[in-house]
Subunit: 700 residues, 2 copies
């Protein structure tokens, strides 16, 4: 794009000097560290491969704007191979990248006079360029070779963006995709989006909501999607489309969408062919079927495998794949939603076409702040399973709470399923190493929107960042990722970096304390999922209420999943049953996920359940106050607008933490009939008053 | 705000150099004209009144950032009255502002060594500052005194922004109001919004959709609204709330919302008192009642006057007012929606409390691209009538067509109602001069959203601008307003300014040609109102179809409102009946509004109706091609991103113009049974094909 090359300064009016966050972590502001500056000062040119492909061109552009911004240096473009003081972009088989290293692996090789960024693929070279820039931006001097390989093959964002411009569970304005402007207008933000993703190694995106409109499969919209795909392609990003299973009827005029019907199969074959005429490297389909009212193969008495395999058949001539979601559950007041996905899919293990990946949410319910890992992981040896995380913070504070999610992603990935003995972590299921699978997928539900800063809360950008980095390498620590992001986005002051990292690391445990302590889950405001509503008793479905999950009664609290009400614990390995299945051994963070615990039962903290519950809610609130104090100390290091935005949101967070605390403590007190511990200050409102507050958010 | 004062330059990365439109017309980039620069070079300081109120502080700030940006000059703040080379801000009664000049009138007085900006009010002084800056920004040297007075007292934006962040009929992202962040976080955009409005003299804003949620009247939300009001207050902008008439039941727990019920009246009195505790200068209520399913006094057998007067009673102790919308119509397949507002309100003329203004849309149907003025104007001598224009382009190309609306606003305002004899224009009804009213209102439905450039199409900003300027002074010409806006927003090159003005002036006639020529109306896509759907036959209500309005049959086209089907024409004065009511004298632009014209009838253009219809649709499309050529010539003068955005949208406009043309010509051809004139190229698709295209936009 030409404006990337505007190498002159214009007068920016004074009013817009504050940082609106629109550049994400790719800020490229001049770095202050003189040592780092001089370490990179010797590089004056870029040596590119003889074949200047679009992706190499992007790598070149990025290096140029990066060096110009970070170091104030203009890198010249040099095609002579014998230059010194150059950054060499190279597509070749270096020994650093063994023959069987994963696609898009790259190496940065430090030579005497040059720095070589090398990969078997041009996308790998682009990734190497971003790695180099990230090192400079975080003020690191590269002194030895860097070799980096992705652990997971498909690193993907799932957009829940609707055709009408809204975003389901979006908290940062409207959709970034301007469908009415496409294909003619390419919003410059599409390019920022592509750069941001490529900088993390994200290589796939499904552009529309899984509650999918058929219109995305019409020629009218394929032309629009093609325009987006053309922008993303040079950045190594493949486009997927979420499809509505009923499309053969809706669009094709067929009488059925039965996946075993010949005409239906033919329709999908033709449609898939048509898509490839627009997008030759089409990523594939993402399907939510027979879930929450969406159509699917079960409407015709067929299985999920029948549906997925039909689409896989249509995809056969191409490289694309079919991603089929396992997020299904029937409305059964006597059942346990926890088990639904497992039970519906278990008989199908081994029946899916090799082109199908089944995409499983990290936990068995629905992106709760702390869920045990989904029991499907480790139990489906003959099915390729991808994992779906939620980056957008539907249940995690939306745009007003600071919650850094890398610890949650890691907790899930690091948990041992014991499927093939000790060490069979979820990450090994996902990256294909446990069952030696060649296809692997980590998907994250995007948190992008039209807001200037893309993600609402300035810290929400860190969750996009962390997801991408973990999808590339799930062995990166949550701390290292946070510090990278802080350095790129907020400040490179080491002291501040440590302190902000500390804020981020404790943010999720704090959030969980004042919302869902001890393994409580699914008690949010009905529909909009904003704020608490533990008293929600009636909803369109029993499993959309709160009481279905917390099961508070005069005896105690929690969902007994160890046999009496549900035997969900049996879906896990013996080792897990022995711990989580035993109320005395169960990690307190998962306690009420699996057990109905008497109010007065002493926990290993020395407190009764009731006391522990109260203490957690109260200490969660106290911690939100500390977050404000700690953030206040960061003021000297942070851009003013960003500082103010975060500080204001921390104040909202405190207010809403009190709202959660008061709601839950006052509500559960009706069951426990026990007093709030003496050393805690009683809520200054009644249960009826907090209920009234929640009602406000249900008014149209 | 502190960041206004960041008087240093920081390095902005190269990628963000393009203009994203976020500064609206207040760009304050350094002006190039040396003569203008030197003319203002003598001013070095600002002399402010002894009492430095918040509004004076804003005036001071604005002058400082304006001079810094436009002229590169730092103005010092000087409180000594005997300084020379100063810009003096003064609150006093100058002879230039006679005692009975309207509130907020101001004068800029050119003295030998100083420039004095004077007004009876501090808001007037702020307006004067914006007038001065506008002159500098458009490269005008002020050589003689400027005196300026508002013609209309209440110059107001109506936001149709919902509590959930969406905007009804919004085409620029989501709501600018971040309810979940308020009251704690003040988005910096609120300040830009306030400055932009104050720069035009807009002094009121209703912040929520007229399809109103009761939640805006809860303490929880009043606290949020107060935070917004506190930001807007120093800029002279009063906040109004759209209210849900059922609130006494919804919020107050009463059994009724009957406006004659004592408890209901008491509830509103208490609620109004409560609001004033948050917002002492509360503007008042805006009410959509018994309209399109909204609750209202008729639910209890009461009249609109009963409802409005009840609210006026509650407002009695305060300065606020009640704005009651006249946009009401019952679903009667045999009636004529054209007459509904008039007929429902006519018996109430004289029955409204003095605190009530009845807000009437510019035309009798609903913001169609070209509507005859609403017959209520001029027919309600005992009722204060305000006018409601739609700035957001629901029926005018949304975010993809270039349509400059000042000519439409002017056409309505300039039309003679003949109510008190010749010269009784709509503008004289509105500004209060015809009936000597002290209260007057011009409201515009806002087109703001979360998009970086606020309004979607870069040229949509001009409609916000034009509305505000006309609300201040409806005698300003559409051309002068356009040139001001171009100079502030796009370029001060005189040649380019003329050419862009020409594009703007013809944009609306062009749009009308390919959508609603000859007085056609209401044929847009159902629900979303995007694209054409003239064949819409069934809808939730008969008056939401297209056939209700165009009445195409084998004989001809158009709605006979001269007696046989409806006698709507009789609502106008005799002079109008004599012209619009006579198919041979009627302005062709209104022809099918009032007459069912035979297909073969010769019009005064020499063409038959059918031919004329075809020619207009076709020439409309041709003109969209010319717009692209003309815009292309402007490339050297325009910021690259803005240029590209407009050019891409012009291409969309052409595509959609063809869509409209093909839909309407092919559809009406089924009735006229006449061939498309020989010299026109036939559409390259069938009616069935365009119908299919429209169906796509109805898919979820």
């Amino acid at each position: 794009m030409k404006y990337l090359k505007l190498f002159f300064l214009i007068l920016i009016p004074l009013i817009s000097l504050a940082d609106d966050g629109s550049r994400l972590w790719l800020k490229y502001d001049l770095i202050k560290n003189k040592n780092v500056q001089s370490a990179y000062a010797k590089y004056n040119s870029i040596i590119i491969p003889s074949k200047k492909t679009p992706t190499i061109e992007k790598a070149l552009e990025e290096l140029q704007i990066g060096f110009k911004g970070l170091l104030g240096k203009n890198l010249t473009n040099n095609s002579k191979n014998n230059t010194t003081g150059g950054i060499k972009l190279e597509i070749t088989n270096k020994e650093e990248l063994t023959k069987d290293s994963p696609e898009d692996s790259f190496a940065i090789i430090v030579q005497k006079d040059n720095l070589t960024i090398t990969s078997k693929t041009e996308t790998g070279v682009l990734y190497g360029v971003f790695e180099l820039l990230r090192n400079i931006q975080t003020e690191k001097i590269i002194t030895k070779n860097i070799v980096s390989s992705p652990k997971v093959k498909l690193r993907m964002l799932n957009h829940w963006d609707n055709a009408n411009g809204t975003v389901e569970r979006g908290y940062a304005g409207s959709s970034i995709w301007k469908w009415n402007e496409l294909p003619f207008r390419i919003d410059p933000r599409y390019i920022t989006y592509a750069r941001a993703n490529a900088s993390l190694g994200i290589n796939a995106t499904s552009i529309n909501n899984v509650n999918a409109s058929s219109r995305f499969l019409t020629a009218e919209y394929l032309e629009k999607i093609k325009a987006v795909a053309d922008v993303l392609r040079p950045y190594g990003i493949k486009v997927f489309i979420s499809v509505n299973f009923r499309s053969p009827r809706t669009l094709g005029g067929l009488k059925t969408s039965d996946p075993l019907d010949t005409d239906v199969r033919k329709w999908w074959i033709e449609k898939t062919k048509e898509i490839h005429q627009y997008i030759p490297d089409f990523g594939g389909y993402l399907v939510k079927a027979n879930s929450e009212g969406e159509p699917g193969p079960q409407d015709y008495g067929r299985t999920h495998a029948d549906g997925a395999n039909m689409l896989a058949e249509a995809m056969k001539p191409y490289n694309g794949i079919v991603i089929w979601r396992a997020f299904v559950y029937n409305a059964d007041p006597n059942g346990d939603r926890f088990k639904e996905g497992y039970e519906q899919f278990k008989p199908l293990d081994g029946k899916f076409d090799p082109k199908v990946i089944v995409q499983v949410k990290n936990g068995p319910i629905d992106f709760m702040p702390r869920e045990p890992f989904h029991p499907m992981f480790g139990s489906f040896p003959k099915t390729k399973l991808g994992i779906e995380f939620q980056i957008t913070q539907e249940y995690l504070g939306q745009s007003t709470h600071l919650t850094y999610l890398a610890p949650m992603f890691r907790e899930c990935l690091d948990t041992d399923t014991y499927a093939n003995g000790k060490g069979s972590t979820v990450s090994k299921v996902i990256d294909g190493s446990l069952y030696n699978s060649q296809m692997s997928l980590m998907a994250g539900v995007a948190n992008t929107g039209s807001d200037a800063n893309w993600c609402g809360h300035p810290f929400n950008q860190a969750n996009w960042y962390a997801f991408g980095r973990l999808a590339w390498n799930h062995e990166l620590s949550s701390e290292d990722i946070a510090k990278e992001w802080i350095g790129m986005t907020l400040t490179n002051n080491n002291n501040a970096k440590e302190k902000i990292n500390a804020i981020m690391q404790k943010s999720l445990p704090t959030y969980i304390k004042y919302t869902y302590p001890l393994g409580l889950h699914h008690m949010m405001g009905e529909g909009h999922h904003y704020g608490p509503e533990p008293w929600l008793t009636k909803a369109a479905r029993p499993d959309w209420t709160s009481i279905y999950y917390h099961r508070a009664d005069s005896i105690g609290l929690g969902f007994d999943r160890t046999g009496k009400v549900s035997n969900a614990i049996k879906l896990y390995s013996k080792e897990i049953i022995d711990t989580w299945g035993n109320p005395d051994k169960c990690d307190l963070n998962y306690l009420l996920w699996f057990h109905h615990i008497p109010w007065s039962k002493k926990l290993n903290t020395g407190n009764s359940l009731w006391e522990e519950l109260c203490y957690r809610y109260y200490s969660g609130v106290e911690e939100t106050k500390n977050l404000q104090k700690e953030w206040n100390e960061m003021k000297p290091y942070i851009d003013k607008e960003t500082y103010a935005s975060v500080m204001a949101r921390l104040k909202i967070q405190e207010k809403e933490a009190i709202w959660w605390r008061d709601s839950c403590v006052l509500y559960f007190k009706e069951f426990s009939k026990m007093p709030i511990p003496n050393n805690l200050i009683l809520p200054n409102r009644t249960l009826e008053e907090v209920k009234k507050l929640v009602e406000i958010y249900h008014l149209r």
